[in-house]
Symmetry: C2
Subunit: 353 residues, 2 copies
């Protein structure tokens, strides 16, 4: 190492002290040694005495593998990715791998260069690039491989992917609310260009189509509590009786603003979140939301990436289904919905998992 802080002891020094060749030291250290036991002992003793530990860098270069994978996300600060990172990192560690994190700062272009650049320093990639156009991603794939995509399953890309079915999640919420009698919804949108927002929008559209006599107003917001707080005014202007928030954080912010304005949840208006982060079952009113299994998702991501790195053929993509958590922030609308109600509190037709 250039800086003389702590000149590391090399395999050659161990070899010299044990009076063997570096090759033998290497073999002993890696359990590939077949020769005389006393030679092995000598090597082990020498290594011990010198506090030798092989340079991971040099091993990596020689072996062509780093035992490191990277996790590339648009924004590490997002609790969603943190949950995944936590379980991904723990699963990888269990198999002796480390994980490198890279934050693309939500920049679509950065996403691409960062992914490529980061990939070069490790053996595999878990890539969450919601902003990257399909074509761009497809072109990058050969360089990125082995790569496991997050939330890119819908499109036909030649790479394994695991995703969350946000569309189904929001439909579950919408149908729950519909079942309670709501016909006029508001959706507080997350970051517009993100796929996770788009699939929610899509899910709502298809719900509305199926349900028929409903109205869904869209309101631009964001992904933080302050965005939810700021959106309260516009929500009320729509006259919606139920509001779906992009995620739990937004829902909490929204509820806070509504409370400030003298609006009671769920008596005056129902609010639903998304994700089921741990805290929202402890606030008042307890938030109705869908729980998304980010932990299992991270673990599964590792499992599949690991298989991929071992050269196994990618198995089928998997889509995690969110699960409805009915709690206290949703209830019947304040006044019975307008006259045209045909099938009263019956849930939306079919297709509820």
């Amino acid at each position: 190492m250039r800086n003389g802080r702590q000149r590391a002891v090399t395999i050659a020094e161990v070899a010299r002290r044990a009076e063997v060749s570096p090759a033998t030291v290497s073999r002993v250290m890696n359990g590939r040694f077949a020769g005389a036991p006393e030679v092995a002992d000598r090597v082990r003793r020498a290594a011990e005495e010198l506090h030798y530990s092989p340079s991971p860098l040099a091993r990596s270069l020689a072996l062509g593998e780093t035992r490191t994978v990277a996790f590339v996300v648009p924004d590490i600060a997002n609790p969603t990715f943190q949950a995944m990172l936590s379980s991904l990192s723990k699963s990888a560690a269990a198999d002796g791998y480390r994980v490198l994190v890279a934050d693309s700062a939500e920049d679509p272009e950065e996403e691409a260069v960062l992914a490529v650049e980061t990939r070069r320093g490790c053996d595999g990639l878990v890539l969450c690039a919601p902003r990257m156009p399909d074509e761009r991603l497809r072109a990058l794939l050969p360089v990125l491989r082995p790569v496991l995509l997050i939330n890119r399953g819908s499109t036909r890309l030649d790479a394994p992917s695991i995703s969350v079915d946000y569309g189904v999640g929001i439909q579950q919420l919408a149908e729950h609310l519909h079942g309670l009698g709501h016909r006029h919804f508001a959706y507080l949108e997350g970051p517009a260009p993100s796929t996770s927002n788009r699939s929610r929008v899509e899910g709502l559209r298809s719900f509305a189509e199926r349900a028929g006599n409903v109205r869904v107003d869209h309101i631009a917001a964001g992904s933080s509590s302050s965005d939810g707080y700021a959106g309260a005014g516009r929500v009320r202007e729509t006259g919606a009786t139920a509001v779906l928030a992009y995620n739990d954080l937004v829902a909490v912010g929204l509820m806070s603003a509504l409370t400030d304005q003298g609006v009671t949840v769920p008596a005056d208006i129902s609010v639903a979140g998304f994700d089921d982060i741990p805290m929202v079952s402890y606030i008042a009113p307890r938030l109705t939301t869908v729980s998304v299994p980010y932990g299992p998702l991270g673990a599964e991501a590792w499992k599949r990436l690991h298989a991929l790195m071992r050269g196994e053929v990618p198995s089928h993509n998997v889509i995690f289904q969110p699960r409805l958590q009915r709690r206290e922030s949703t209830g019947p609308p304040p006044v019975p919905p307008s006259a045209d109600r045909t099938g009263p509190a019956a849930a939306g037709p079919g297709r509820r998992r």
Copy 2:
């Protein structure tokens, strides 16, 4: 690389195509080339055409630096570390460094071996090892360097450290509550062996000493909302009028349980959190807490580690002071404190920052 997925192009191939030596290619790629411009152009063109990009591994081995640092923490899932990680990673990225995360799973022994092992694969370490005994850490220091310690500033260790003054933080809260008239406190403890819990305990002890006529009951809890929820019963048994929670999550859980039990916050009992995570200013009642600047702390950690890696001498340690956020979850005790009150609502003597 062993697996023939995408045989990377090497410097030799570029050299051959540009009809120069690998040395020249290297020089051109690193801006150290002084010769004929047309040679440089030829090299650049060849590199371009071959989509050459130097192997980070090989560079690292030759240069003796990886441009990677590691962040070792007891539990990545902890929001506290996530906030630090986020800003650490962003700051490091701005200087062209990546960050590796390692989770010691709160295991004191694991903390040590993980730190050492992880350190070998990178240029520096940000180490948060609250469980590791001083002696052990001191012994490891030479191997770990350059290393920046988190929350290990109090002890005399020969390594730079940046910390949060949890003691002062909890004292601010206690004094705030004392000023409101509280004399009987409960503290919901975090993970017992952690330094961050111990400094809070210490801070409370010194507060109690200074204040004189106060009582502080300690209750074992933990660091999550469910721990707070579970602790409510024991809190009420103490008869305390004000409770300090280990962190915001615990406080939220506690408040939820109290509400469930018909206890009103802050009318019946005051509750204070710790950390000021974004959401707690949006819940009802808005949580009184101290804000801890984890973001700036992460950035500062990078700044100092970076300086250290450049060989600069470590500057003085820094201690971030939490700042009191009075909100709605604290108020005067329900009945005037017992007869022995001498100085009524005057805040505790001096020493409030």
